[in-house]
Amino acid sequence: MGERAAAASLKFVTVQANSASLAEARARVFEFFKTTCRSIPTVMEIYNLQDVVNESQLRSAVSSEIRRHAHITNPKVIDMLLQKGTEELHNIVQHSKQRHHIIGQYVVGQRGLVHDLGTKDEGTSDFLKNFYKSNYF
């Protein structure tokens, strides 16, 4: 691994996030974002993504994932989301996932779900599309 990724991966060994305030949770979010961005060169090398994406696109993908939850104000919810994010990052960096997972979730996934890009689902209603994504919309 590069030196930056090796140094950043030490941050995986973390204490359970327990933020006292929104400001602390916000600081943790930025910390998580930086760790993720510093691991991006490693991820590209592990999964051979050099021809598929470049690093700034992956950074944008990560930041849009974080931005989806930007409206949340409860520090405990933010901690929970950070824990899920850290777990996901850990899985990716440890090569527990595979190339098609990364491409489907973070490369193509930003343009809409992969199966939505096919012609079969183009006519389906927005209600169904939202329903497939989550229970609450």
């Binding site: 930056r4 140094a7 930025f30 910390e31 974002f33 930086k34 961005c37 510093r38 060169p41 690093e55 700034s56 950074r59 944008s60 930041s63 974080i66 931005r67 930007a70």
Partner: protein, 128 residues
């Protein structure tokens, strides 16, 4: 032992440069030329400020949410370019990648305009 040390101290041999021909040589012109060009020195390989400024501006311009025509060396990321704090961090990460640096959190919090970024990177000893 002390006598031996005292004797050795008294026997001082003048140091002279001896050329391969066996003759004592004066410091030649060639030696003084080589003395001014330091081939193995890394003291002068700091980036120039224009170089740093060009590369910083190109990184900011290629950021997807930024309008390239608005980018000047004095532009402020959040107030002039309409970005938010997460975008600010993202630009800093792009700069870290470009210059192969790692900016600590305390310094990173203060950098929120092109001018500060150019200054910080120019003063950083490890920027390349």
């Amino acid at each position: 032992m002390a006598l031996r040390a005292a004797l050795i101290r008294h026997l001082r041999v003048p140091v002279q440069t001896v050329s391969p021909a066996g003759r004592v040589s004066q410091p030649s012109v060639a030696n003084s030329l080589f003395g001014s060009i330091r081939f193995m020195s890394s003291h002068d390989d700091h980036l120039s400020k224009e170089d740093v400024a060009d590369r910083v501006l190109s990184v900011v311009k290629s950021f997807p949410k930024v309008d390239p025509s608005k980018v000047t060396p004095d532009v402020h990321f959040q107030s002039d370019l309409g970005l938010d704090s997460l975008d600010n961090v993202e630009i800093l990460m792009a700069l870290e990648e470009e210059f192969k640096l790692e900016i600590p959190d305390k310094e990173a919090d203060k950098i929120d305009s092109c001018k500060l970024a150019i200054e910080y990177i120019h003063n950083h000893p490890m920027a390349s």
